[in-house]
Amino acid sequence: MINELYFALYAIKKNVQSNAELRTSFIANIIGMMINNTSFLIIWIFFIRSVGIINGWTAADILGLQGFSALCFGIVFSAGGGIRHTAEYVSSGSFDRFLLSPKNLLLRLATSSFGVSAVGDMLFGVACLAIYATLLHTTPYQVAFICVLVILSTMVFLAAVVTVYSASFLFVDSNTVVDGLFELFLTPALFHGGAFRGGMRFIFTFVIPSLLIGTLPVEAVRNASLEKLLLITLLSFAWLLISFKLFYAGVRKYESSNFMTFGS
């Protein structure tokens, strides 16, 4: 296990080094993503100012929502950027090299590529959560809540991404479908949390885990709700387990191919 983690960290370091060789694109990607996220946040703040508070959701909550979402997106897609390339790896046959590695397959796949632009998301997420915590005058107890919830929402995000990208093994040229499924999960996760009530809330919590990324964590922090924390914990572990099962079931369907490919 220690060897696996050591190798994973080493692979991430090598990927960062490899990306940093192309310096201009490395820096431009990070800054570009931060600008993109900021513009998105500004739209939501203006929306709340003009429409008012919906179902108890204030502008600060939207800031928290964006913080949680951007941070877990950034963590998963920077360190584990390889998952995003699953469809491409499978259709080109370059997934072979992960099967030839003596390491954990999912960890090897995830750390095969570093998403530079996701660093921008990560920095943006940290900044949002810091401002959110300040605006909320959070107690140390709530700060601890935020930290635990960042870990849990990252787990859910990882599980959702692994589940969605496991579909890549089922048919050739799955990029469009996989990207569509990912958007189906991500868009509600970034949407105004107060908009989800009743059936919609149930679906996007238990069927598609979008609300576990930001909406439920923000509500859990706001009310320091242990019940919500417990629910998120249980669901995040369940989703992680399901996603791993689906991934390895998908791998058994892998058929390889003989296209020319490059990269470690």
Partner: protein
């Protein structure tokens, strides 16, 4: 007394050292399914309910490889070579049959097996394109849980052996194909694998790069007793590198014999060179079973089809037609032999 009653072969079997089997494949099959477009059927039906075709890429093949052997696993395109190699290395799951590589089952012992084997796919790179080769070698070292000292020592060793030092600090994307292939093989040998699987390692290389790579593989085989299992379309790889050849066609194992015996066992044609005392002026029509390979004033080369005419009769016929000073009779090259084997199936 009991020992004396044993048959000779049984007694010999007891005393003979047992050859260590590195690869044992038994009744191995792999079936692929894919949709096909049916002619004369509407596109909607083809889209929603296409006909499913089953293809046996590998069909019940069995063979074994002994430690230290250099085996060429050859066949025409689509014969099932790569599929077999992928099943041996844990990439694909077999439909049926059993595989043991170094005593391990690739379908269940993927990680354990990966520590013991090396792979080179000519069409695939395992190296970091933006970083120098040494970074990729180090990466492989860490992946195989080698210590820093072991990694440093092995990188120096491989860089010397594969003559990587002159371009070791260049990003991989800037290397020539020959340099990159040497680096690929070096990377796959970082952890001193017991078996190395190479899928068309010399594809696209020039003659010098090919020779250099082949020499290195022989050296590794001699010095580290690494078993080599190679697929290639290049006859030179087979002739100069492998002491045994397994031929597969349409998923079925066709031949399995020492490479040297290939040309001797499967001689379908002989070549006869004729050298004139002065010069050949005319090139008359040749008897049935003999044809011209080259026509020159100073030398004629003919090909004799042994199914239709014997060498003796061919020689007699040619000497009746031409006035010659010197005659040379020799076997067909390995490429022709292999082509004939492919075509026969």
């Amino acid at each position: 007394m009991l020992h004396a009653e044993l048959p000779i072969c049984a007694t010999l079997k007891i005393h003979m050292p047992k050859e260590e089997k590195t690869i044992v494949v038994s009744e191995l099959s792999k079936k692929f399914t894919f949709p096909v477009k049916t002619e004369g059927t509407g596109w909607l039906k083809n889209l929603l309910r296409p006909e499913i075709r089953h293809v046996r890429a590998v069909d019940a093949i069995s063979f074994s490889v002994t430690k230290g052997e250099r085996v060429a696993f050859i066949g025409p395109n689509g014969a099932g070579k790569s599929t077999t190699i992928k099943m041996l290395t844990s990439i694909l799951f077999p439909t049926s049959g059993t595989i043991r590589v170094l005593g391990l089952d690739p379908t269940t012992d993927r990680k354990k097996l990966a520590y013991k084997i090396g792979t080179v796919f000519g069409q695939r790179s395992q190296l970091f394109p933006n970083l120098p080769i040494t970074d990729s070698l180090e990466f492989f070292g860490v992946m195989y849980d080698m210590t820093d000292i072991q990694i440093r020592k092995r990188v120096i060793e491989l860089a010397e052996l594969f003559e990587l030092n002159s371009f070791a600090d260049q990003p991989v994307r800037k290397l020539s194909l020959g340099q990159r292939m040497r680096a690929e093989v070096a990377a796959s040998l970082m952890h001193r694998p017991e078996v190395i699987f190479l899928d068309e390692p010399t594809i696209g290389l020039d003659v010098i790069a090919k020779k250099s790579l082949r020499d290195l593989l022989v050296k590794i085989n001699n010095e580290e007793q690494t078993t080599i299992f190679l697929t290639s379309h290049d006859v030179g790889d087979i002739e100069s590198l492998c002491n045994r050849t397994i031929i597969i066609n349409k998923g079925i194992l066709v031949k399995d014999l020492p490479t040297q015996e290939l040309t001797r066992t499967f001689v379908y044609e002989k070549y006869i060179d004729l050298v004139p005392p002065v010069a050949f002026e005319t090139f008359p029509e040749l008897p049935d079973g003999i044809r011209y390979a080259t026509k020159g004033k100073n030398k004629i080369t003919t090909i004799v089809d042994l199914d239709r005419i014997s060498v003796r009769d061919a020689l007699k016929a040619l000497l009746d037609i031409f006035e010659v000073e010197d005659v040379d009779v020799y076997n067909t090259d390995l490429e022709t032999v292999i082509r004939h084997i492919y075509e026969a199936d």
